[in-house]
């Protein structure tokens, strides 16, 4: 398995775990106060740091296991996979943002708009990793 495919798997898992944990915490806090809690910077910082630690640690492990692959520069296939996955995930992000803006026009809730756009961003990133994995495995 190419290093970049392993990396995509790890990022998909790490970002997926952190995002689910963040969404669960926001949902729990919102249920407790009976309304959607506004985005909290300290909470975002904690989850960002957690993601960085998880991603860095897991990448160190795969780099130690396959040092030659880890230092190899990207080649034409890596660039093609990355470009196509980026294009497709861009559509995911655009669709999410369009839905978020549409929802804002109906609900007029800025906090909800933030979460919807933030969620679209995360979903787009997750889909980019998933597309990369698919293109590496099924061909491009």
């Amino acid at each position: 398995m190419p290093f970049r495919e392993k990396s995509a798997w790890l990022m998909l898992i790490c970002l997926g775990l952190v995002s689910v944990a963040y969404a669960a915490l926001v949902a729990t806090m919102s249920n407790a106060v009976g309304q959607l809690v506004p985005p909290l910077i300290p909470l975002l910082v904690v989850f960002t740091v957690a993601l960085v630690v998880l991603a860095t640690g897991s990448h160190i492990v795969i780099a130690v296991l396959a040092p030659r692959d880890a230092v190899a520069p990207t080649d034409e296939r890596d660039r093609a996979v990355s470009a196509r996955a980026g294009t497709w995930s861009g559509y995911v992000f655009a669709a999410g943002v369009a839905l978020a803006l549409g929802l804002y026009l109906i609900v007029r809730n800025g906090d909800l708009l933030f979460y919807c756009v933030f969620g679209s961003w995360v979903l787009a990133q997750l889909s980019e990793y998933a597309f990369e994995i698919a293109f590496y495995r099924r061909g491009i």
């Binding site: 190419p2 296939r77 698919a134 491009i140």
Partner: protein, 80 residues
């Protein structure tokens, strides 16, 4: 999503005949071993530049290494 490209190749056969490893071939043309594996398995069609590099490395022409396989049409379409 992605479907297999209609480009066939004899890279594996030619590489093995010359006693090269996938890593050797990848290093020679500037791609990773994994890309050579993908080319040999038909999961990736190399760029024109890499295709020429591979053909030249084997001392052959491009069409001696790579071929074009016409996509199989459905029997219904074929009868028309």
């Amino acid at each position: 999503m992605s479907k297999a490209p209609p480009i066939t190749n004899r890279v594996r056969e030619l590489r093995e005949a010359r006693g090269l490893t996938q890593t050797d071939l990848g290093d020679a043309i500037g791609v990773t071993r994994h890309t050579i594996i993908a080319i040999e398995q038909g999961r990736y069609s190399p760029s024109l530049e890499s295709a020429f590099r591979i053909a030249r490395l084997f001392g052959l022409g491009l069409e001696d290494v790579f071929g074009w396989e016409e996509p199989v049409r459905s029997s219904r379409a074929g009868k028309r």
